[in-house]
Subunit: 204 residues, 2 copies
């Protein structure tokens, strides 16, 4: 069986979106800064249907996070704001399970991405395991889904891409979990533009 | 002239003390966990008057943060809770400037540490510069002092020692600064127990 892995970009002060995020302003004010490290990379451009781009440690980390992924899980907020920018051929190229209280029919896109809408994290996991087979399940975010999986002790890997910026406000990744969770640093990759820390969270 | 450098241990979720911190519980509930990486190190034991301890990258980072420091700045809260544990021979061995609204006479300790009590961060900086000469000024914390120096654009280096734990609550390092501050990663050192990221904050 593959691993359950979360990958997310965060500012040093703990935000995954800037202030005033909304469906029309998904990353919040200034939140694009968190993803600045990624846009020029070869490994990011490829699944987005573009050629070229920068190679090196950041691109290798990005490529690794995509490789061998057989299914994706995400929160409803992330889907809502990103569906349009992702366009007709979203960058997942596998089954994506969106946790939402508003069930709807599956949404087929080009390039192998199908969005399925499920009512709980448990249901998302169950269906993602079936879709992924021996491959990994990628948790794309947002904060709520990652917090739930950490609290349940189910994540195999949490990779945080720490962007070198203090946003000063916004949507926190780890707000108010109210319990202590041990992490084990598994691998650190550093560049001039971002620090990637891969943790193995304590499991249940 | 030396550099103005801050060094501080933080959980991945951004806390420098656990919940319920007070003068009697300076690190808050569970906050000792943040400093677990440091206690066994040779470079930590030495200024505390102890011999032996573990060598390696964490000890080297610790040694570097102490080397060439000619003066120290800290907040009043930190002084209040740590004065007793530090004992008669505190680990600074230089002039320490405590920012407080309650002025008092300097406090001489053994081993070259003298605590001076000053009424503002600007006054602390001015006096620390005089005391340090060509050596570095170390900012020992806490959060408020570091936030003020970042906001003023005065810090040359901010080294965050990220402890691999989610505390789930406590005293945040960067709470509510309300402005975006760019940082430049200058050096990352990783071990099994902690990740040290040294940043050069944007200056004014």
């Amino acid at each position: 069986m593959g691993k359950l892995r979360a990958d997310i970009s965060m500012s040093l002060d703990g935000f995954i979106a800037g202030p005033n995020d909304s469906p029309d302003n998904g990353l919040g004010d200034g939140g694009e800064r968190l993803h600045q490290w990624v846009y020029g990379l070869k490994a990011w451009r490829e699944p987005h249907g573009m050629t070229g781009g920068k190679e090196g440690p950041d691109s290798d980390v990005m490529a690794e996070s995509i490789e061998g992924v057989g299914a994706t899980i995400m929160g409803r907020r992330m889907f809502d704001f990103a569906e349009e920018p992702w366009g007709i051929n979203p960058p997942f190229h596998n089954d994506v399970f969106v946790v939402t209280h508003r069930p709807r029919e599956p949404l087929l896109k080009e390039g192998g991405t199908t969005f399925h809408f499920v009512s709980s994290i448990e249901e998302a996991l169950k269906q993602a395991e079936g879709a992924a087979g021996n491959q990994h399940i990628s948790v794309a975010g947002g904060a709520s889904i990652i917090q739930q999986l950490l609290t349940l002790g189910l994540l195999d890997e949490l990779q945080v891409h720490i962007a070198p910026v203090l946003l000063g406000g916004g949507r926190p990744l780890f707000n108010g979990m109210g319990k202590t969770i041990e992490l084990k640093p598994a691998r650190v990759v550093a560049s001039d533009t971002v620090t990637h820390i891969k943790y193995q969270p304590a499991k249940k």
